[in-house]
Subunit: 246 residues, 2 copies
């Protein structure tokens, strides 16, 4: 633990204060010289910590003024992390989830690599189908680091989606996505009631908390029934109002 370099320790300390709410958006963060005095590091070390936190979007720095906790980030990305239940509800439709698998496993080599844990460590494996008005719309295959969420097997994921449950446990700090098109396996095709040659849109999502991966999911969507949508607005511009797209 002491192996972590000091600028990293500083970053973690400040991130922790933000995560725990001790520092709120727009709050002033200790200045470089404050950190020099309070922690004994040199100013260059404090500078690196704050500069990286700025690059990573945690704080905003203004020359001559100070460093402040960042607030409201704009960028609505296409791949915004959204709860499918909320999304369906927003369309005024009815959401239902059917749990197919909910069990503990030893992590396979692939899953261990993705979640950055040792092979064989305990993970929870979930498989569920989400329906929108009784039509299958998403097959969710998910792995959760067991130590992060020990009571996973007690949850009723037909009521609360894994995504919503995870964010209730700890603040979601990061999500990586990959999106690709692929032909589904016969089993996936069957579970999603897909037609013959229909392709799948596969979203792979890895979520992080406190700098460590906590969960990995593959989300399969029928190509004919699903679209990802999103808007992008460059920094410094207020959106005018894009509405319906093709």
């Amino acid at each position: 633990m002491t192996a972590m370099p000091r600028y990293q320790q500083l970053k973690q300390q400040i991130i922790g204060q933000i995560s725990r709410g001790e520092l709120k958006p727009r709050d002033r963060v200790p200045s470089e010289n404050d950190l020099v005095d309070s922690t004994g590091v040199s100013r260059m070390t404090a500078n690196r910590a704050l500069r990286e936190l700025n690059d990573e979007g945690y704080v905003e720095r203004v020359a001559g003024v100070g460093t402040f906790v960042a607030d409201l980030q704009s960028a609505s990305h296409v791949l915004e992390v959204r709860n499918i239940a909320d999304e369906i509800a927003a369309r005024g439709h009815r959401h239902a989830a059917i749990v197919i698998v909910q069990e503990q496993q030893a992590a396979s080599a692939e899953v261990a690599d993705i979640l950055r844990i040792a092979q064989g460590n305990a993970v929870f494996h979930l498989l569920l189908v989400h329906r929108e008005n009784d039509t299958p719309i998403q097959l969710e295959e998910r792995y959760v680091v067991a130590t992060f969420a020990p009571d996973c097997l007690q949850q009723d994921f037909a009521r609360v989606t894994p995504s919503a449950w995870l964010s209730s446990i700890a603040p979601l700090q990061e999500a990586e996505h990959k999106v690709r098109a692929a032909m589904p396996s016969p089993e996936t095709r069957r579970r999603l009631k897909m037609a013959g040659q229909e392709p799948c849109l596969v979203v792979m999502r890895r979520t992080w908390s406190d700098g460590r991966p906590v969960s990995f999911a593959r989300l399969y969507h029928p190509g004919s029934r699903f679209e990802l949508t999103g808007n992008y607005t460059p920094p410094g511009i207020r959106k005018s109002t894009p509405e319906s797209a093709p």
Copy 2:
């Protein structure tokens, strides 16, 4: 011009060498001490340049060994509006575009609706194939509002991509995206040299300037050769170290 700090100049210099192919993936990048000798900066300044290039994924550094041009860069942020040529160049690969169609048309009902103009109004229709090291990677079908960019037919889109050209005309203010999986038409399949049952990842993008749609594009990618990736970070927090995902 001299306003750019020296570590930035160093970064630009190295990025330029990568883009122009003078430095190829896995090539050795001048070490910190090399840069000290050749440019006269201090080692800490060289260190900052190389360290940031590493953070940004341009190079990989191995302690005790050296710094090398990164290969296999995972295609970055889907949704950030990026020029595919830059993205390919950033991977150290060679980009080429082949223009198939470049003509003026009367807007069809569908295109007129998307671009919010009257049916029959003039639009430019573009069709081109982008290649990464001679492998087709994207089929771009684009419609541009004629009044927005009257000299579209005079452009050489084999040299400057439509995306880059459009942003040079007026600042891009907004972009909407939709992503879906679909089976390509036989013609698209042929143009992208795709195998039998391979699906397509289709990105649809509508860009706005001054509150009006100016261009609409459908971007077809071979499912087996392309992945969209991106990171999402909730307000106030950002990436600590995501790397490779499945």
